[in-house]
Amino acid sequence: METGFLQEQRTLEGDLNSKTSHKNSVDYLMNWFRSRSIFVLAYGTGCGAIEMPPTFTSRYDAERLGIRGAATPRQADVIIVSGYCSYKTLRRIIRTYEQMSNPKYLLALGSCTINGGMYWDSYNTIKKLEDYLPVDMYVSGCMPRPESILEGFIALQKDISNGKASSWQKYEDNYEFYRKNQEAVLGKTVEPSYEADWYLYDGGL
């Protein structure tokens, strides 16, 4: 019987391996690979971002579960919305989320994303994230501890390997609904106003 840290590691891994339902073995393998390699976008959107460095570094070390950071949205699988979203940030989150390639997942941290949290009467933050973007997993708390963030990740990984985490599908299917909600708070200019068209100057490169 292993003790201490290794035992925790085995428990977490065992948690991941338990109870998977799948249609066929190809499906199973695909989902297994997807669940075991999670690239998290390095975008600290709110105060929950302060507990992300501990989660990803020596003490809690999310990399042992295959979770690591990615610099650009093109390479990321998971975007973490860490806490309250002001309108200005929500615009950037939507843009970033749409830049990621499928399958992509959204993990929301903190009570602010669930129901507004501390800032329920603030004029500049949204109260319910799932109206604007599809959420795969909520981690509650203000702010959630690294342990609970890891738990949230493991629950997400389990969902992925069961094929249940399909929020990106939901977003594509109900795009009208999400777009309507986004426009309701952000106005017609949902995307931030800057465009990367620098390479079109003088006829391009």
Partner: protein, 296 residues
């Protein structure tokens, strides 16, 4: 027969490339006082990216970049013999010599530059510019050292160079080895010369805009390329390998050294790294060249 050889070489390079990357992540993790991912993690990552959908399109030129890089890496591998004795795992090395390999080493970055340029991501272009600037400085000490070794062994054939070392070249010509090692650290993308994909500066550099399958291709490419470059260094300076175990031991020790060096130093700026590479290792290489020719 040669076809089977090539396939096996590819498989060996692919497996060991990823294994080394996994070990790299594990060893740095231990150095950083943490548990680290499983050894197969890099492999899982690359397969996962193969399974992702591609939602972006920038035209066919964009997709050509990773493919040119991949073929550059595979060709480099095929022209480097794994062992210096025996008949197997020679690849295509009898049809091409060291000059061809040196040319192929630069093919990848150039191919990538084409693709990234079309992608339109400013950070990608910046990464490529950095890469090409650095490439020039990297090649300098490496070429001097390699050409010196070539002329000292009197052959441009890698197998001959590897076989003819009774004592390792690294021991007879230490200065040449040190000069080449500096640029080798740069070639492996390790600190302090890792300016190309510096995340806090230019996201992930050339790879910024690539996603899904093409990113997976880039990952496999770098795994194979790493292994090929390690074998090349072993062949040129560490007396080659006569068996599988010797090959793995030598390449791995070299790899460990590169990691350890990378963990201890921060990143230079691009001009700083060019400056450094053109000064210190180049001078070491030239002095090594002079000493070597003088003594022989």
């Amino acid at each position: 027969m040669i076809l089977l050889d090539l396939v096996l070489m590819f498989i060996i390079a692919y497996t060991f490339g990823f294994l080394y990357y996994g070990l790299y992540r594990n060893i740095t993790a231990r150095f950083q006082r943490r548990f680290g991912p499983p050894v197969y993690q890099s492999f899982v990552d690359s397969i996962k990216f193969f399974l992702k959908e591609d939602s972006t399109s920038h035209g066919w030129m964009f997709y050509l970049g990773p493919i040119i890089m991949m073929s550059g890496a595979v060709m480099t591998l095929f022209f480097i013999p794994l062992f210096n004795t025996g008949e197997s795992f020679k690849g295509l090395s009898e049809y091409g010599n060291l000059f061809l390999v040196l040319y192929l080493l630069v093919l990848g970055p150039l191919g990538n530059a084409l693709g990234v340029g079309v992608g339109g991501n400013p950070f990608g272009v910046m990464g490529v510019t950095r890469g090409l600037t650095r490439l020039f400085a990297l090649e300098m000490p490496f070429y001097i050292a390699v050409i010196a070794i070539m002329s000292l062994s009197g052959s441009a054939d890698i197998t001959t160079i590897a076989t003819e070392q009774t004592t390792m070249n690294a021991i007879i010509y230490p200065l040449l080895f040190i000069g080449a090692l500096f640029s080798f650290i740069g070639m492996m993308g390790q600190s302090p010369f890792d300016v190309v994909g510096a995340p806090v500066e230019v996201y992930s550099g050339p790879a910024s805009e690539f996603s899904g399958k093409f990113l997976a291709l880039l990952m496999s490419q770098s795994a194979i390329f790493t292994f090929a470059k390690l074998v090349l260094m072993v062949d040129l300076f560490l007396g080659g390998a006569s068996g599988f175990i010797e090959l793995i031991t030598k390449t791995f020790i070299l790899f460990l050294f590169v990691i350890a060096f990378g963990s201890l130093y921060g990143r230079f700026k691009t001009p700083q790294s060019v400056d450094f590479l053109l000064k210190v290792p180049t001078i070491i290489s030239i002095v090594g060249l002079i000493l070597a020719t003088w003594s022989s």
